[in-house]
Symmetry: C2
Subunit: 334 residues, 2 copies
């Protein structure tokens, strides 16, 4: 049998378990040019919240009653393609289901010996590339500059901060638990990290951590955390706006101090981006990430939950800040 | 006698007449290398509100008890410089006073026969260059794109919209009186103009005026006008953030819908700028503006109040939206 997870109904505000429906169907059969893939790792990512809405965005919304899809690493268990062999491991944009059939051309064979399978969904995959292009193309940190990263213990933020370190910047991370703060300082090489949940006066804490102001603000979260950063921006600061997770579940009720005056006063460049805009440069980005990884300049962390049935919980946990690093669900043994 | 206007005290919220003090002193005498200038035109500009605050910004704050300064066109009535002759007209950053002494090197001789004296403070001066660099460097409008300009009947907005037209864009202006709207459509060649004060549902009106969405939003105002524009931004839209006049008098109480999600979703580039960042390219910008003006591709409008004593009123009028085009005060005959 092939268990699948479908969008049961669209959420209002914070998604709940009732937004997801488990269904069972037969394992599909590949036709010519196709492969049958057994799901091993499923990626859950904050941007998926946007796809649960029925509104125009940069990716198609999930459809009610249809299988949810996202990044998946799996093993080819049957091949009717000349390009991919049975036993190959692949990464692709596939359904939240135990088995998927895909055109061979839409998945990519990955090498388990070069890097752990799971890393292709994290540091070497979409989150790593997101960090890479946001930080290098928009952030452009320079030697001695100060870089602040929000959502710093997440899959993207953790890599973004380390890339800024590689470029010689002072890096300050914002995260929501003491464990995360400790990890950023002890393992990921951040110069400072602040627990925004327990810090009473975030603006003052940031000011102390950034005595020379802020030159790059890599923002994953928006909301009141960003409010505390804007007044510290230096002239010609850059803001790679990677996400705004604090807003995703708030609908139209999300208000805060207006930011336009800061943008003019300090001549700030705030630029939203998504990783697929850089598709033509993926190879170059992956090469840099792989090199830094092999040189030990980049570390990464994963939170891996086990069991297909726990996918929705792991997704919901993203909005509670439960994960350190990349959140994955292991659905089957490698 | 030399009447001067000094900053009497810093305003809280909207400036009032009591923030200004008139004082009389002797007409100063130039020393070697200096010139004595009789003020003819004084420029008042929205950015000056920021200089009334005692906070870090891109220009020095005005000092309490000191003469306020800004753009001035005047006539040299005495010269102790070899570079400037008595009778020359000059433009410079000078005090709100009837007579100024300046180092000859800090003012620029202008030619009354090439363009009207007043235009050097408007279309050929700081506001024109602001429009030019914001629109061409950040906005980058392309043939067939849709450009929205807020504060469109102001000194900068009016020129910015016309520059977008020259680049082949559809241009929609937002202004606060029917006269302004009429001017933009009839004289300045805007495709559409909307009176934001009398339009009940600004977002819907904008949607109708911009059936293909918004590719460039040249923003002078911020506030609820901008709130209505953000949801209409197309992918890869650009926002030259020129000003945020709606916020200038609000201090810390200025809140509104958060914008980060729009920025990510549509991969928007929002960039604050000020004209002096482009100082090295002023000659090139002025050349373009002058050419367009002489070719009849660019029209401009001035609101000229008369009398030195009316400078503060004209400045305060900027925040009531009284002026169409560049607001000047004529202090003496040419």
């Amino acid at each position: 049998m092939n268990t699948q997870i479908k969008l049961a109904k669209r959420p209002k505000g914070l998604p709940e378990k009732e937004n997801f429906a488990f269904e069972e169907g037969p394992v599909p059969s590949p036709e010519s040019g196709q492969v049958l893939i057994q799901t091993i790792y499923v990626s859950v990512d904050p941007y998926m919240r946007g796809r649960m809405e029925d509104t125009k965005s940069y990716v198609e919304p999930f459809q009610v009653g249809k299988v949810i899809d996202g990044g998946v690493v799996g093993k080819v268990v049957e091949s009717k393609s000349e390009d991919i062999e049975e036993g190959n491991y692949v990464i692709g944009h596939l359904g939240w289901q135990e088995y998927s059939v895909a055109e061979a051309s839409t998945v990519r064979v990955i090498d388990k010996n070069l890097a752990p399978l799971s890393s292709y969904l994290g540091v070497l995959g979409m989150p790593g590339l997101t960090a890479y292009f946001g930080m290098t193309d928009i952030g452009q940190p320079k030697e001695g500059e100060t870089v602040v990263v929000s959502g710093a213990a997440g899959a993207v933020g953790m890599i973004a901060g380390q890339i800024a370190k590689i470029h010689g910047a002072r890096v300050v991370g914002l995260a929501g638990t003491d464990d995360k703060v400790q990890y950023l300082k002890d393992k990921a090489g951040f110069d400072e990290a602040i627990n925004y949940k327990t810090t009473q006066d975030l603006h003052s804490a940031l000011k102390e951590a950034c005595p020379n102001g802020v030159d790059v603000y890599f923002d994953n979260v928006g909301g009141h955390i960003s409010d505390a950063v804007y007044p510290l921006l230096n002239d010609f600061a850059r803001i790679p706006q990677c996400g705004a997770i604090s807003s995703y579940n708030k609908g139209g009720d999300d208000t805060g101090p207006r930011i336009q005056t800061y943008m003019v006063k300090s001549r700030v460049r705030l630029q939203g981006f998504i990783v697929s805009d850089y598709a033509k440069e993926f190879d170059q980005g992956a090469k840099h990430l792989g090199t830094w990884l092999s040189e030990g300049k980049l570390v990464y962390k994963e939170t891996i939950n086990e069991g297909f049935e726990n996918i929705p919980d792991a997704f919901l946990g993203l909005f509670e800040g439960k994960n350190i690093g990349k959140q994955l669900i292991k659905v089957a043994e490698e």
